[in-house]
Amino acid sequence: MTAGAVALTLDCTGQRCPRPIIEIGRRITEVEVGQLVELLADDPAAKPDVAAWCRMRGQELVSSEPPRFLVRRTR
């Protein structure tokens, strides 16, 4: 487990991309800057797309172990 507790879990299991990405994009602002969001997504596109979303939106990808992704809100 990476440092810091999960502040929000988004269960997008069974959803096709871009749904899980839309979900985290819409709801990351529900946590404070510095807090962790846990995203559960089993679509094969989730692995590249969560990483690309973090890069494009300036968020931190803490861990990527499909179907579980941890993202830290940095802005």
Binding site: P18, I22, G25, A45, P48, D49, A52, R55, M56
Partner: protein, 381 residues
Amino acid sequence: MAEGGAQVFLDSSSGEPVLPDALAAWQVAASSGWGDPLRLHRAGRLAAQALDSVRERVAAHVGARPDEVVVTGPLAPTAQAAVAGLARGRRRVGTTVVTSAVEHSAVLAAAAAGGEHVVVGVDALGRLDLGAWSEAVARPGVALACLQVANHEVGTLQPYAAAAEACRAAGVPLVLDATTALSRLDTTDLGAWSVLVGWAGAFGGPASVGFMVVRRGTRWRAPYPSDDYQQGRWPGVIDVPAAWAAAAALDAAAGERAEVAERQRRLVDRLRQEVAVRVPDVDVVGDPVERVPHLLTFSALYVDGEALTLELDRAGFAVASGSACSASSEHPSHVLAAMGALTHGNVRLGLTRTTTEVQVEAFLDVLPGVVAEIRARLGAG
């Protein structure tokens, strides 16, 4: 709708529309060069002469000798023959096949069908990790390696000459996939490849014709039962009129390369710049400079590729997509994934030789609204 209802075709990455020169050549050859080239009668001799001419012309485009050129079929069976034939010739050395992560799926499938498949990664622009490649091909047990000249989805040029040199130093034969490069770049001096493959559909020839060029001295052994055609290198009678049309397409496309490539390069530069400006949250991928002239790939966040393709189709533009569900695959493009690029909301543009500035501007005018509408529909607007 653009141009009075006619759809603008921006999907040359799946095949360039057949060139008028190729069509005319096919008609001529179909009426005189239809014979079996192995027969000694007049029709057979005419077909054999036509085939000799095809080999000479193709050889001239790739810096090879005419007797090294084999007329084959589409890319998938051609790649399989290239890979399996080298694997057979090298089976005492080993069974490992080294490829980049971004080869055409037909090449990856051929590589994976043999023994161990070692995949070498690419950077964010889609360019091969040359250091890792050189290490991979130098390990013991490598039968062969496969690399493309340029990527078929994002257009990035590979360091093919340096990669071929690493193969030569290691004594490993290289299959060079020139499909995306033929007619679009000067392909007469592509380095120390052993087998070169190409497909006529990519440059405006018939989709049924491909080429496998096997350099003399290469240990390539037919991986299937041989017959008398093409010195046993590709079995079965040859569709000579189609091969003739393919050579005509290559001559015609290469003949106008300077003019077409310059125009396409300028239009893709314009698209690259304007897509990033006009569409928020877009990932424009591939090398902006070291690339083939006609391809551009980008992905829009929060949009699904299938909807994007269909809405652009309705708006009058035919495009491809590397997103899952938008092609025939459940999985997103392995090229985009290997680059770390966004895979959903993907659009792959392939300009044809007749794509105009007016068409490109019309596409740029339509795209932002289409993306915004899909985002709004998905609740991401």
